[in-house]
Amino acid sequence: MPPRAIQAPSRTDGAAIPALGVLPAAPIHVSSEAFEGSLASLFALVRDHRIDLMGVPLFPICEAYFEYLITATESDLDEAAVALSALSYLLERKAWLLLPAPEVDPEPFEEPAELPEPSVIEFRAAIDVLGQWHDERADLYFRSRDAGPNLFELPYELADVSGADLARALDRVLQRAKPTAMPVLARARRSLAEQMELVFGSLKTEFQSLTEIIQADLTRSECVYWFLAILELVRLGRSRMKSADGDVLFARSIHPQAKLWSEEAISA
């Protein structure tokens, strides 16, 4: 049986176009060896790639439909437009199928790139061994660098000197000081370590009072700085002190327990 297209009666019956403005596909029945059904079904199957359009001869269908359009006395223009659009789509698809397919060159097979030489793979086994040694080393504990005695925790000798004695000694040297206006935001001229070096150099092995040790004219803040330095020297065991006639006397320590900063630097 040759393929043919039969136009079924219109379902719109001249009614108004639906609100969406979309008309259903024209109820055209297609009858061929490869497909039998409505044109709308053929359209949907081709669109979804579910039928091989090569097996459906479109020329007789189009010829029959055009004959129908010419001979029909009452035809709906919208339905005819939809049907023609569907047929043109099918023709276009089939035309593309009939075109000779260009030969696609196969992708050139790329040889896997060789690893750079030398490669980190060379070190893999050694890294594993080193990691194992590192873990084993973590189980060993050594004497710490900070395990020695803390200079600031060494015992120091106060002898018979009380805090009040120290305060009076400071007061005496402060009374001798000449008050001068200090510049705003002035910084200490030297660090405490440097000051301790200076004070240590002024100390003798014989006991002296603060007023004897500090001979130069100093400001009040400098007097305090000298006093703090001498206290630090006592704390580090580099100076000793004793009380005598209501005053406090200071002298160099005979058996120094700790090194001064400069001495540490020299030994290092």
């Binding site: 080193l130 040694w133 590192h134």
Partner: protein
């Protein structure tokens, strides 16, 4: 005072590895008796007690034995700093190829290694070992004594040999495969019989 006691006392107060020459100079004993004393002390400490004498980073140092590690770590709460894989790779390349430049390290790894070198410099495992006499005078890097100390080595010649490791592992693997093949063959023969 015996040389062993003298060496023991000096090693006890030392917080870094001490060489035999330093021990000899400090103790006043000649080098041969000091070296003999080190061997004696090592054997004595290995025999009993929680401390042993090990050779690290070119010197001798006292350390607790590994079996006490768990207990000590509970007291000291040390912060273990494990090196990441990338840092280990950079470190291994520096250790085996030293003196080596940054670009040579990057040529081996194929990635940027600037961070790795900086991190290892901060950890004092790597140091600058001069500049190469090539255009640009790039910095050359080498390992430190801290590296030897951290990886339980006495000298760089103790590094595991790169080419020997696979060969050392191969015989055992081959033996295992051969044993497995023998077992399978015997089973197959039993089944077919």
């Amino acid at each position: 005072m015996t040389p062993v006691d003298a060496v023991f006392a000096l090693l006890f107060v030392a917080d870094v590895p001490v060489t035999a020459a330093e021990l000899s100079a400090s103790s006043g004993f000649d080098r041969p008796p000091v070296e003999e004393a080190l061997r004696d002390l090592q054997a004595r400490l290995d025999k009993d007690g929680p401390i042993h004498l090990i050779q690290l980073a070119g010197g001798y140092q006292l350390a607790t034995k590994p079996e006490y590690a768990q207990m000590i770590s509970r007291l000291l709460l040390p912060q273990r700093q494990r090196l990441s894989r990338s840092l280990m790779e950079v470190l291994a390349i520096v250790a085996y190829r030293q003196p080596v430049t940054l670009s040579e390290i990057e040529a081996v790894r194929g990635v940027d290694c600037g961070y790795g070198i900086r991190a290892l410099l901060e950890r004092r495992l790597v140091k600058e070992a001069g500049r190469r006499a090539t255009p640009g005078r790039p910095i050359e890097y080498g390992t430190t004594e801290e590296f030897l100390h951290q990886f339980k080595m006495n000298a760089l010649n103790e590094l595991p040999a790169l080419t020997e490791l696979p060969l050392a592992l191969a015989p055992s693997e081959a033996d295992q495969l051969e044993q497995s093949a023998t077992v399978l063959e015997s089973r197959y023969n039993q089944d077919t019989a």
